[in-house]
């Protein structure tokens, strides 16, 4: 059993051992081993040429990644918290995302870091911003929910020719442990996974909300309902077919994520269902997401605004009762 955090570190370590063009750059990733200790031991193994501690300059760090990728490397750029990606935002959406389209030159870069709430951080250490990057065009967007997927998707992301924004959920880092294949392990980008089979209703979800959905599914068992849970794993590319297959089978869908509701990625999924599985639907497609506010600091408030298993269960019940 490996933690989500160790699984990610493992994937990076394996790729770095294999491929000299892979290197890391970020803040406090060297001596300190990263704010979450994900790169603990990396400096000793790979040296300061490949584990580069940079000044607090997210745009410069992002640009360094892009430029190195243009020059044949495969940089892994760490944002100490994904929230700080807003300081490197222009580099990512303006330069990285458009280069292949315009120049036909690959930008094989992974931008990764801890995102998400539920751990009593604060509004500036808890954002779920994956939808911004899904909407940027030209960026792949990955949100793993399990340790095994985190490893396999990280390997695939490093090997991809395109810029990948890899959202790790900080609440899962040490909470989630599962069986992770040893050695090189690839989960291709763009393949959703049915993580629980069911027949009455589908939850389409990703990231931390996968665990909430699984808990909700267990709750619904008591009601005698059989809930299928689909973890999309990557937002871009999106495996629409697996989503539609599930919904065509169950006829009912709830879409869930931890990010705020409005203009969140649940909207994308729900509309695809409403369009392409319309005739199969026996009930409205419901979304469960965070309340449209910053993620508050105090536990009472944070718990109230974020989604959880109960809220998903409630949506499931309403959809089933329809």
């Amino acid at each position: 059993m490996t933690t989500y955090l160790d699984a990610i570190a493992d994937a990076i370590r394996i790729e770095m051992r294999k491929d000299q063009s892979v290197f890391m750059i970020g803040e406090d990733i060297g001596v300190y081993g990263g704010a979450f200790k994900l790169t603990k031991g990396f400096l000793a193994e790979f040296g300061p040429q490949r584990i580069i501690d940079a000044p607090i300059s997210e745009a410069a760090i992002m640009g360094a990644g892009i430029g190195a990728a243009l020059n044949g490397m495969r940089p892994i750029v760490e944002m100490q918290f994904m929230d700080f990606i807003t300081n490197g935002f222009n580099q990512l959406v303006t330069v990285a995302a458009t280069t292949a389209y315009r120049w036909g030159i690959p930008v094989p870069m992974v931008v990764r870091g801890p995102s998400g709430g539920g751990v009593g951080a604060n509004p500036f250490h808890s954002r779920n911003s994956e939808a911004w990057f899904a909407h940027a065009t030209g960026l792949k967007v990955v949100c793993p929910a399990t340790a095994a997927d985190a490893k396999g998707l990280m390997t695939a992301s490093i090997r991809d020719q395109n810029p990948v924004v890899f959202f790790e959920h900080k609440g899962l880092y040490r909470k989630i442990k599962d069986e992770v294949p040893e050695g090189e392990y690839v989960v291709p980008l763009g393949q959703a996974k049915v993580v629980r089979e069911g027949t009455d209703v589908s939850v389409i979800t990703y990231g931390s909300a996968v665990h909430m959905a699984l808990e909700a599914a267990t709750m619904l068992e008591a009601d005698g309902a059989s809930v299928e849970v689909v973890d999309i794993r990557t937002l871009v590319p999106l495996d629409e077919e697996t989503i539609l297959q599930s919904v065509r089978k169950t006829g009912r869908a709830v879409v869930a994520h931890e990010a705020v509701l409005t203009a969140g990625f649940a909207g994308e999924i729900a509309s695809r269902i409403a369009d392409s599985a319309f005739t199969f639907l026996d009930a409205p497609v419901k979304r469960v997401a965070a309340y449209d506010s910053p993620t508050p600091f105090a536990p009472t408030l944070e718990k109230a605004v974020l989604p959880n298993a109960e809220k998903i269960a409630e949506a499931l019940r309403s959809v089933l009762a329809f």
Binding site: E27, S293, A304
Partner: protein, 318 residues
């Protein structure tokens, strides 16, 4: 400098230090909440700089190691404690915590986690004052690490062009999280950035509270006269980890020992005692009283409930 001012400087530094020590105790007891960022070693900067302002017309944009400046501007211990612990009645109603809070009545505008983000905002605040013919000076801070953020550059240049009444302290405490100065920048003094903006810059000993006060007073006076912004780099040492979870084993022990000799509170107490401004008895008493106040405040604050969940759904828009 009057004896009154000198005692005040000491008093606020002791408040800052004891608040800090209290947070550390709370952290060890598992009762602190969020990051606990010590300003041990930085008290002279927070206090000396804030004392240079006129709290009836100027404005403070503090950073994460500036609890002393909050106190100078009139924040109460209870207020700080409630915010730190995000309890009911705290200014931010639990939406945020640590030192991020603002209290417009006290002319304090807090910060956000994103380093450097409030400097452009401080500019805007005093720009508004200027447009209305007011003479408000803004005092704000950035670390040796945070000074590398792009927004800091944009803000300093903007302030220079518009000759804004802004005083920026660069708190060079040698480290940015685990990263030493040598990996953050390649110039001997960060205040030299001022040269590139055509503004005033200087580097001073940040453990000497009177020097900080005087240097900032001069900067405030320049700002008030319409001569534009200043950068003051204060040299100190971050005597603890980045936050209390950090054992700072990456900091050489000798470096800490060296700086310990320059402890701003101890050296200033000794100085005031030597100058006959205060007795060592009185210093001890000041510390004890302050500690008692902290303990009482902690007790009161810990008894407060968490803010009601409904607060989470309020005032996204006003």
């Amino acid at each position: 400098m009057t004896n009154n001012t000198r005692v005040e400087l000491l008093k606020y530094m002791i408040m800052a230090r004891e608040f800090d020590a209290s947070m550390l105790r709370l952290y060890r007891q598992g009762k602190a909440f969020g990051g606990v960022y010590s300003q041990l070693g930085n008290e002279a900067v927070s206090v000396g700089s804030a004392m240079a302002l006129d709290p009836t017309q100027d404005v403070l944009f503090p950073m994460h190691r500036n609890v002393g400046a909050h106190f100078v501007f009139g924040a109460t211990i209870d207020q700080m404690m409630q915010n730190q612990l995000a309890r009911e009645g705290s200014q931010m109603r639990g939406t945020d915590g640590t030192g991020h809070y603002a209290d417009p009545r006290l002319r304090i505008y807090g910060n956000v986690s994103h380093l450097g983000a409030m400097i452009p905002v401080a500019n805007g605040f005093v720009l508004a004052g200027k447009l209305r013919g007011e003479n408000t000076v803004a005092l704000t801070y950035i670390g040796d690490g945070g000074a590398q953020v792009g927004e800091v550059h944009e803000a300093l240049n903007f302030a220079a062009v518009h000759k804004l009444p802004l005083v920026l302290i660069i708190e060079n405490n040698q480290y940015a999280y685990s990263t030493p100065n040598s990996q953050e920048f390649a110039v001997d003094q960060l205040s030299k950035r001022a040269i590139g903006y055509g503004i005033h810059g200087e580097t001073i000993d940040g453990t000497d509270v009177e020097l900080v006060l005087k240097t900032c007073q001069a900067a405030v006076a320049r700002a008030r006269r319409g001569e534009g912004p200043s950068i003051i780099e204060t040299q100190t040492m971050r005597m603890r980890g980045h936050a209390e979870h950090d054992d700072f084993s990456y900091v050489p022990k000798e470096l800490l020992d060296e700086w310990a000799l320059r402890d701003p509170v101890n050296t200033y107490s000794a100085k005031l005692i030597a100058d006959g401004v205060i007795s060592s008895e009185e210093v001890k008493q000041l510390r004890d009283t302050t500690l008692d106040q902290m303990i009482a405040s902690i007790d009161r604050t810990l008894e407060l409930p968490w803010p009601d969940a409904s607060e989470g759904f309020k005032q996204v828009f006003l």
